[in-house]
């Protein structure tokens, strides 16, 4: 009997939870910014999801899974990279640099793949998260609120600030603007290097950061 129920539940788990593996991985990958850790986190989150699956009340399965992935990711960051959670973004407003109406839109439109990836990667984790859920995962405000366990108002203000910062960063990253980039650059380079290193090295680097 016990066995049978286990198998039935596993079937349901297969149907309901496993289809969201890409969404789970995408979120973890963007939160911890490293493929190796993201895989470990998703695996752990899925084991937890399986354990708690009995308590799943139906409804939005993707949001339910992503909520677990998010919590697992934050626990990982708290333990291993607390600095990532307290990252502050330099909230200078550069909007007055736009020469004329429309110029900014053209610049934003022309941002290349690497610029966009870097810009998103450098945002503080709370803004990165809300943008990933909205722009990459295509979630509605209500679903994002469910994943984050926060009110919709917080989602909306996070999105607004995240977008402002992303925009700022994309405009700031224009090749000719690079010379203005200040000391913050060092942190960026470190993150970039870390993200491009093989996993073992990058873990080692994170450990060094902690010392």
């Amino acid at each position: 009997m016990e066995e049978k129920r286990g198998a039935g539940q596993a079937g349901a788990f297969d149907q309901v939870v496993l289809p969201h593996l890409d969404a789970a991985y995408n979120l973890a990958r963007w939160l911890v910014r490293n493929t190796h850790d993201a895989e470990d986190i998703v695996q752990e989150a899925y084991l937890r999801a399986f354990k708690f699956f009995g308590g799943y009340q139906g409804g939005d399965a993707r949001a339910w899974v992503l909520k677990i992935v998010r919590n697992t990711s934050y626990t990982f960051l708290e333990k291993n990279r607390p600095a990532d959670l307290s990252e502050e973004f330099d909230e200078k407003i550069h909007t007055d640099t736009a020469e004329q109406p429309g110029a900014e839109a053209a610049l934003l439109q022309s941002a290349d793949t690497r610029m966009v990836r870097d810009a998103l990667n450098e945002l503080p984790v709370n803004f990165r998260e809300v943008l990933v859920l909205r722009e990459l995962e295509g979630m509605a405000y209500k679903e994002i609120a469910e994943v984050m366990g926060k009110p919709i108002g917080t989602v909306m203000s996070g999105l607004a600030r995240g977008r402002a910062q992303l925009r700022d960063r994309l405009l700031h990253m224009r090749p000719e603007a690079h010379s203005e980039v200040t000391g913050k650059m060092r942190g960026e380079v470190r993150t970039k290097v870390r993200n491009e290193l093989p996993n073992e090295l990058s873990t080692e680097l994170s450990e060094k950061d902690e010392e």
């Binding site: 149907q15 991985y25 695996q43 966009v116 979630m139 509605a140």
Partner: protein, 250 residues
Amino acid sequence: MACQNNELLLPAYFDGELDLVRNIEFEEHLKTCPECAQELRDLQAMRSSVRAANLYERAPESLKSRIRAALPPQARPQPIAMPRRSFEWLAIAAAILIAVVLGAKVLPNIGGGEQDLIAEEIVASHIRSMQPGHLYDVESTDQHTVKPWFDGKLDFAPPVINLADQGFPLIGGRLDYVGHRNVAALVYQRQKHFINVFVWPEDSKPAKTPEVQTIQGYNLVFWSHNGMYFCAASDLNLAELRQFAQLLER
């Protein structure tokens, strides 16, 4: 940034979060407010850069195997000896049963009509098609390969168009079973999202037909066109799924 609509309404409009009435009101406002119009263009420009950058990170195949291996033994799927057809039946039946038993939101809908059952079936079918090896019976980006493939397999000829130029490439087709009949399922892709379009003759469509429905986080858009009934199902956001439906209708 003097316009106060900038703060709340504009982002909500941009994200497709306004109800119909407010949506229309805001579109009226946009015609007379150059600031909001400009801000909207900036947001759209940024979104199109983000989309073009293809930032979605898909899970590696190895991770899936790792997770399956790490689950408790009874949780691992048993090899199925039955022929595939009957297994599909079981899977659909199981998915519907699960949806009915688990879905608190679904409960009030029982007896709420054929349409809800069909929507449930479509979501179950969509989810199942996302599992490895279930997405298509014929894999092709060529509408002239996909369309003849259905010949003799269905009692109707589904319209097949490729929307690759509009960012929704056709990637294949398969036979499916919805609402007690064989239907055509066309598979399209939008970046990393898959869209299943279920097509069957209008004369056997359900009586009550909403335009959109969201079940378990999946969006469904329904429409009729040229004697055929369509349902597009995807985890893609509703705004884009609607845009896709409009492109297909042309």
